[in-house]
């Protein structure tokens, strides 16, 4: 993409910078969603959204600055954010199961203590 037309060069610059600013605003909004999200799944969805928008920002920068290697970083980022979502959901499921077992164990203990007192 080598432009010899100065008007076209300026037009590309304007479009890219506007898109980057809008994506930055969306990134802030999804961060707000992640903070106020009442449930755990809400926060993970917001993190996933942030990853996608960061992906778009990196790709736009790669084309804007004519740096081809930034697209490789984009691919790696996609893999990392996918992995993060999977690991987070698995970890929270494990944490939930552990808490449930602990609660069941405590209730059992309470019942046994009660019978012992009588």
């Amino acid at each position: 993409m080598e432009n010899r037309i100065p008007v076209l060069e300026q037009a590309y610059e304007v479009v890219f910078v506007t898109a980057l600013v809008i994506l930055a605003i969306f990134l802030m909004l999804s961060l707000i969603r992640a903070i106020i999200g009442p449930r755990v799944a809400d926060r993970i969805v917001a993190i996933n959204m942030m990853g996608t928008q960061t992906l778009a920002i990196i790709a736009i920068l790669a084309v804007m600055k004519h740096e081809g290697y930034l697209v490789d970083i984009c691919l790696i980022y996609a893999m990392t954010s996918f992995l993060a979502v999977i690991v987070l959901s698995k970890v929270y499921m494990g944490v939930y199961r552990q808490r449930k077992e602990e609660r069941a164990g405590q209730e059992k203990q309470k019942e046994e203590c009660g019978y012992g007192n009588h």
């Binding site: 994506l23 969805v45 996933n48 081809g68 996918f82 959901s89």
Partner: protein, 131 residues
């Protein structure tokens, strides 16, 4: 040659703006829906269609080169990864949700064939209109 470059610019920026519009719809949906499983519906749209349109516009802008091939690879990877992560998040939500009857309508068929419907408590008083 000049007109081809202008066409490239116009088509590319139109696709980029379409992708940004889909991101906007995603943000509006994420802030307006009331429950995670509804919100995820809006969020998954940006994951596939939004970034797909953005990267397609960038492919058109960068022309026929190795960069556009790698951008295509990113799109294909997202097509595979986004449904998987959505599925995992939905399963997490259904697993750890302890007050399901407050969040969505549930139907159950008992042993004698009767259908039991449980409507969310907040909407019980509405006449038959269940979301």
């Amino acid at each position: 040659m000049e007109i081809i470059e202008w066409l490239q610019f116009l088509l590319g920026s139109a696709l980029l703006v379409l992708g940004l519009l889909i991101f906007l719809i995603q943000m509006v949906g994420v802030f307006r829906f009331k429950y995670v499983l509804n919100r995820m519906h809006a969020a998954a749209m940006g994951d596939t269609l939004g970034i797909g349109c953005c990267l397609l516009g960038l492919i058109v802008m960068s022309g026929f080169s190795f960069t556009s091939l790698k951008l295509l690879l990113v799109i294909i990877f997202l097509w595979f990864s986004s449904p998987v992560s959505s599925h995992l998040i939905a399963r997490l939500e259904v697993t750890i949700d302890e007050e399901k009857e407050q969040h969505y309508k549930q139907q159950e068929i008992t042993a004698d064939g009767a259908v039991v419907t449980r409507v969310p408590r907040a909407r019980e008083d509405e006449d038959g209109t269940v979301f």
